[in-house]
């Protein structure tokens, strides 16, 4: 299997990634923007999951939470992802070698999969959520899984700053 390392080395050697990496404020500014947008993005996800799970916002029907807040979730997803990718471009080899960062990528893939299943299978049946007890269990499971995954993603993102397990 061809290694990804030469590509990452090429990325790291580019003039613009080098310039940002070596500037005093470039990295802190992008990292802070990443954390700020993640807090908004993950915050919305967590509260929506708490509702799907059934422990928050009892006055708002589950279907409404999803329909009305999803656009805002996506609005926060864009800067989170853009700044995250930018961070990867600036220091690719460091992240590549970081064990906790790899765990974070796996968790992100799982969270993405969970969201995809929810959107394709569970959400189209939103009309029956409240009547069908089995479906209600599925909705709770989706929300609970997402809650655990996103909490773990935040934790692993923060701990990427350490070099544990390397």
């Amino acid at each position: 299997m061809p290694s990804i390392v030469p590509t990452l080395e090429w990325l790291e050697g580019l003039a613009w990634t080098t310039a940002i990496r070596e500037s005093v404020w470039g990295y802190p500014i992008i990292l802070t923007a990443h954390v700020a947008s993640i807090v908004a993005f993950a915050g919305l996800i967590i509260v929506m999951d708490l509702r799907l799970f059934g422990v928050a916002f009892p006055d708002v029907p589950r279907t409404q939470i999803q329909r009305r807040l999803f656009p805002w979730q996506m609005a926060a997803f864009v800067p989170s992802t853009a700044t995250g990718l930018l961070l990867c471009c600036i220091d690719p080899l460091r992240y590549y070698g970081n064990v906790i960062f790899r765990v974070k990528l796996v968790l992100l893939a799982l969270a993405g999969l969970n969201a995809l299943v929810f959107h394709l299978k569970t959400y189209p049946m939103a009309g029956q959520w409240d009547d069908d007890p089995r479906l209600r269990g599925t909705v709770r499971l989706g929300g609970g899984l997402s809650l655990l995954l996103w909490s773990a993603i935040i934790v692993s993102g923060r701990l990427t700053a350490t070099n544990w397990f390397n």
């Binding site: 802070t32 928050a56 805002w72």
Partner: protein, 157 residues
Amino acid sequence: MFEPFFEWCEGLAMSQVYRESLWLFAVTQALHLVAIATFVGAILIVDLRLLGWGLIGQSRAAIARNAQRILFWAGLAVLATGIPQFTANALTYYRSPIFVFKMWLLVAAVVFTATLRRRVAAAEEGRMPSWVPRAVGAASFALWMAVAISGRLITYY
């Protein structure tokens, strides 16, 4: 003026445990972030509603009331994970301009949320000009995001 208090914090047994542990501080920091995200999520949903967006199917008062429980528990978790970080290196924070700035900003955000924002959110709809809840929602979002951002910047200054 507050220096003896900061010294006392740093001298606590818990602070020493935190300083000597190789992982406790980092793990607490990570959990602090999860708690902050949850707290900001509940703030954001109410702010969006005040701005006339998001959960417009329910009244502002209902959304604010429902958010209370998350704000309370997440706020408690933010404090429980924030305070040991602070006491562990209290004297360093005493000299950090960004930390001091964050604390004043936090006081402002809490006071604003507990007074003006709470009243405006609970008020009967249509009793005040529509720009009032909008302005309050925007101010709340700006304040809380500023608290979070200045927290992140403590590392640098």
